[in-house]
Symmetry: D2
Subunit: 353 residues, 4 copies
């Protein structure tokens, strides 16, 4: 196990390689370009395929193809590009195909800018595409966690036959941190996928990958099966981290880059004698209500922090169910709240309780 | 004022024409095809343009162009096609361009089927595209209301310089009902749009339509201006209808086609002596909390009804804030809950209170 | 009849408008952009439609649509964009649809540059698309002739139900010359098109526009009908201009911009006592052999001049049939032969006879 | 060396594999689909990549990318699909990139049908794309020759850094014939490509692949270099086969499938005492004039035979230069001339001499 310095965008790529991902299809967009650059170099080294498609629409449909054939496959983009993939993502979910989609979020809406943001939370978590479907959604907040969650992402994608979205932002992508890296032989042991369309050699049955079900009764059966799967995810896959939550009266809630700021805020508040703690959801869907329930016994207020105008705060409100006031502080358009301004806001909240 | 029989899909088209819409760009998809068929014939009659684009991606970007030039313009599609438009919709919102997008929802996810559904609620209301933006979202539940809301849709789009989504489904599109139709001269009086890119004849300043703001400070200013606009919508544009709500202990909540079933359910329940009422949101964003607050004084339970696995129910829970139990009943994949099955479910709910 | 100064690119647009063209679909590319700019302004003035498509592929297929419905329609592009239209052009020819395609040629191959060239002769005349088809191809060499040939182009397109290509280059497009322009009322009298897909109101039969004929026997019948049409073009539509051809021993052959240089060369040579003349094909397909036959009685050599490495020269050789030597002089990549260098080359040719 | 039975379409694929081709990009179209099917299975076996692109436009641009990086790469399509590739092919020629494009021709123009044809000769040989460029064009007429010419195609592509087109038709693709097949180890020794964009590891200079030359002087230099290359092809690469040409008074000319019919015609004619022979061009560009010159000493007429309305016949006329009459017989739209009808036509020709 070696300790090496690594960039977030590289960790997204290296994590995918080590998870056995051998196919990358994408179209360039800032601020995630170092990830495809990394994979353009790295994929051939492990016998994998890196392909720049004609567009994001083309890329996500190539993901559909490779996933159908049983490969571990990913794409990556940033906000506008992810919007272009929404039809494809809904198809992947409908056809129950495992894949990983990385969104290194930037300022929006529209062309926006290339600064870091978290304003695609709704799109990722509530479903940017059509129909009743859910993405498993992971939000790392350090370079080491990127490596770990990329492995988890591919594992969960296969376990549930469902697309997994990894949400990052430009700060996380550019950030350089030391990580533990075991030697990597290049081998990848993939789970068997007896459902994949790999030809009928050695089996009787013809596999079909499809999301078309003409009869409503049949499509409803499929949707109920999907629903059961999402409920299983809710039962088994909620992940979160807490910091100083025990006995906290003010509970901050933040994910990804914002959680790093939030942790510093908690430290500052506690240093000043305030009873503050932090819940950091690692899975955004399924959203972890458990720590909220636990915190509710002592909490006098929740404060959702986001690099957006307020999206995750809805899930916080749904988790809190009106049993405690929920506040929101956020910046938007690529602005990142500073520790100082959040501390000040938090003190105002506490004062008002 | 004449009383004529009209189909829902035709009413979507005729309503647009009478609202002064003179540009339609789209790509065919069932179950909304009668709308473009109608406009393909009707547009030339009023000097308008009907154009079938290469794809939904092309169509929504043509909407962007026509809206930039100040025209009243619309597109229409069904679920998968609307997913393909998510990047464009985010651009329209970011550039503050008025337009109307009709989604005649079908069963999803993926290819799904062509049966009626309401499972694109999240996409329409929470934002299927990237970034902090909101669509005004209208949900008619009769042919007459389609005519009225199409007029309102274009009016609100211009008033707020924001895309407006009209959510329907295949039942509503196929339904034939009598409507009041005044004679139509073909004239259309449009509000002045001094911001439009119509050339600089007669003015000094060069208009720019754009959603790119490189500096985060600048993009944040834009987003805060957009936020103020969305708050103005929340203050001024919430629309809903209630039925038998006064004193109701069981409050049904449903929109669109589902609200027609819900009303029959309320009638049946009341006939059997149950104290039931109905809230029908007409605007899905902004979501009307007022009737919920009003109902909470007597209500012992809310029951959200949807042709999906449960999406609007989240907004109901957010409106109710844990002060009362919220139940859900829905069918998915193109199945429509019948009056009988909802009545039975409602009785179970009441029994359990 | 007014005498006004006009640019070549404007004349292409104005000529189209006056010919009753009311639909333009295109995608921008230098050096023809002033033509779409002109039409973007002019089309709305005459109730026409100007639309910038997603790509050249989209544009040419929109031409297919409008032509099917009986409209006078055109597109315009420059070399690489015209290459992208080859499938569509073959479809238009196969479905016998009238339309006008303008190619303002630039330096190639590939991206090349934006300087004037004539190196798409083969593509235009021999068929850049697949299958046995022919384009009527017109090559103006002055601004006045552009106006005249645009009128002719639409007329011939309708007469033969065939796409007509108008070949120009950047010099011709930028050139400003006085033209005769009659007042224009905006009215356009179009020939009846009983074959167009305009709906079945007022007729029994359902019109079909199609280029698919599964049975080879049937497709051969279609192709033989097309062949008869091309032969009729060859019989009726050959157009050319000669200059000082009578008794010329050295016969220059050139079209478009190159013909202007060639004429100056002839003048210079004759001033120096050389017996030189010029054949300027105005139609490139059908290629006018008649003046060659006529010239052969006295000619001792032909000299094909092109802004390419030699393409039309093949048709010259086919016309001359070995009965006289055929020389070639050309520049390529956007270079235009000067009078001086052609005169020098011509003298060498004469010396060698 | 084993003697095995093989289909033409399979031979196209196997020939490519053995020539070291490891990248195939394409989009499905009848009647060449067995070729991509074959490669979809075969490519992974040799560590190669088979990718179905979004469209033919996407496919040819992927060929551009892989060729830039020095790979042996091919695409394949049928007539309409090849038309869509014309821009890309011109770019490949302009950037001097080696690749192989297979066209299994079908009936045209437009959608046409899926029956065999030779009506894309002009497109292939005269240049379907824009600009002064040439494709090396090979026309096999047996399954064994397919195998041999695929090897040659990749070799010549690399030798000249130029796209090579292999022209076939549906009959050739479906035909099953015995071929000599040596054992294949899977190894592929490729020529060094020091110009390829493979990264700068181990060299100083940065390679650039490009077809943009803003300055006409520079683009002309490039075009003159290309011209010299085409002249070298004309000097070194002309290939043809003759049959019974010695002393033939009637010289048939045909390529590909048509040459098989032509050979049977010659046999029949000679059996009946007619002095007939055959020239079969194997390279269509460069077109082999040598056998024509040789045949002219005895020939009294040439008869070009094509599965088209007459395209190669122009090159025959250019080769014969009026020194002998040139006749044409062809069928079109997917019809194939039979031996009997050609014999009859040939006799008429002879009678008329």
């Amino acid at each position: 196990m070696a300790r090496v310095l690594m960039k977030g965008n590289e960790a997204l790529g290296e994590g995918a390689i080590r998870a056995g991902c051998r196919y990358f299809f994408g179209y360039p967009i800032t601020p995630q370009s170092e990830l495809p650059h990394y994979l353009a170099r790295r994929m051939p080294e492990v016998g994998g395929v890196y392909l720049q498609a004609e567009s994001e629409v083309a890329a996500i449909n190539m993901v559909y193809g490779a996933a159908s054939a049983g490969a571990r496959v990913m794409t990556s983009s940033s906000s506008p590009g992810i919007s272009l993939m929404q039809e494809g993502i809904s198809y992947l979910a409908g056809a129950e195909l495992p894949c990983v989609v990385v969104n290194v979020m930037r300022g929006g809406p529209g062309l926006g800018n290339i600064a870091p943001a978290q304003s695609d939370y709704f799109q990722a978590v509530k479903g940017g595409g059509h129909g009743d479907y859910r993405l498993l959604c992971l939000a790392p907040s350090s370079v080491q966690e990127i490596l770990d969650l990329m492995a988890l992402a591919f594992e969960l994608a296969d376990k549930y036959r469902n697309p997994v979205m990894v949400l990052g932002d430009g700060i996380l992508g550019q950030m350089m941190e030391p990580v533990e890296l075991s030697p990597y032989s290049g081998a990848a042991e993939l789970p068997p996928k007896p459902w994949a369309t790999t030809g009928t050699l050695g089996r009787e049955q013809r596999n079909v990958i499809n999301s078309l079900y003409i009869e409503p009764e049949e499509l409803e059966r499929v949707n109920l099966r999907l629903k059961a799967k999402y409920q299983r995810m809710e039962a088994e896959e909620k992940r979160w981290e807490t910091y100083a939550l025990d006995g906290a009266e003010l509970v901050l809630v933040a994910f990804g880059t914002m959680a790093r700021v939030a942790r510093a805020v908690v430290e500052r508040l506690r240093a000043e004698g305030q009873s503050a703690g932090l819940i950091r959801p690692v899975t955004l869907f399924p959203f972890p209500e458990a720590p909220f329930r636990e915190a509710l016994s002592r909490a006098r207020a929740f404060l959702a922090l986001e690099m957006s105008l307020g999206q995750m705060v809805e899930d916080v409100r749904l988790a809190v169910e009106g049993r405690c006031p929920v506040y929101f502080y956020g910046r938007t358009g690529g602005m990142v709240p500073t520790v100082a301004e959040v501390v000040e806001f938090a003190k105002e909240v506490v004062k008002g309780l």
